[in-house]
Amino acid sequence: MSHEHERLVIIRHAPYSSNALREGLDVALVAAAFGQTVSLLFLGQGVLALLKEQAAGAPGQKATLPTIDMLEMYDIDQLLVPQSALDALNLQAAQLVDGATVVADDTLPELVQRHSYVMNF
């Protein structure tokens, strides 16, 4: 499978901590809406965006999970999580949304390398 013109968006920030997560997801959705193939890589705190039990928080706070659920409708089905990111947060793969795929850490350099466009959030 060629990834020559595919985009990789790296998500590294937790929900509610800053606008970074929302901006990263917006970029992914916009690119996908324009017909681009987009993969998402969740590193560090970014993994928290994939917890499937996320519910509505304080009034006025926009929840993340609806956006994550929307990704599939935009054909964004690569939600990649390195095993070490799960381990660092004491999480199990079963706690993540169904679309998430756990990958081995040693695949990351090649993953980043083969995408022509990589954006970091």
Binding site: R12, L43, G44, Q45, P82, S84, D105, L108, P109, E110, L111, V112, Q113, S116, Y117, V118, N120
Partner: protein, 96 residues
């Protein structure tokens, strides 16, 4: 791929960067990342085969690390060198 790091060498951003560095990549340390000059055993100095690690001279100087820079294995670049690095690499990834 040129990786630009502006967070300290043992920060989460640095660890995330190191997990993605591939053979032949370049690393440029700016702002707080120049503290890596104080850590000769920092993993980034030998992140992968054929990876050159550059340090922005101005940021090392402003943080009192010019001496450490001269004694390190880092390649010192000035702002002009920074621009040249961005020309040499087709892809650039900032870790912040």
């Amino acid at each position: 791929m040129l990786h630009i790091l502006n967070k300290p060498p043992h920060s989460e951003a640095a660890a995330q960067m190191l997990s993605t560095v591939a053979e032949g990549d370049g690393i440029l340390l700016i702002e707080d990342a120049v503290q890596a000059l104080l850590h000769a055993d920092w993993q980034g100095w030998d992140a992968a085969a054929d990876v050159s690690v550059c340090v922005l001279k101005e940021d090392a100087a402003s943080r009192g690390l010019s001496g450490a820079a001269l004694n390190s294995q880092a390649i010192l670049v000035d702002m002009e060198g920074f621009v040249e690095l961005t020309e040499q690499h087709t892809k650039i990834l900032s870790w912040y």
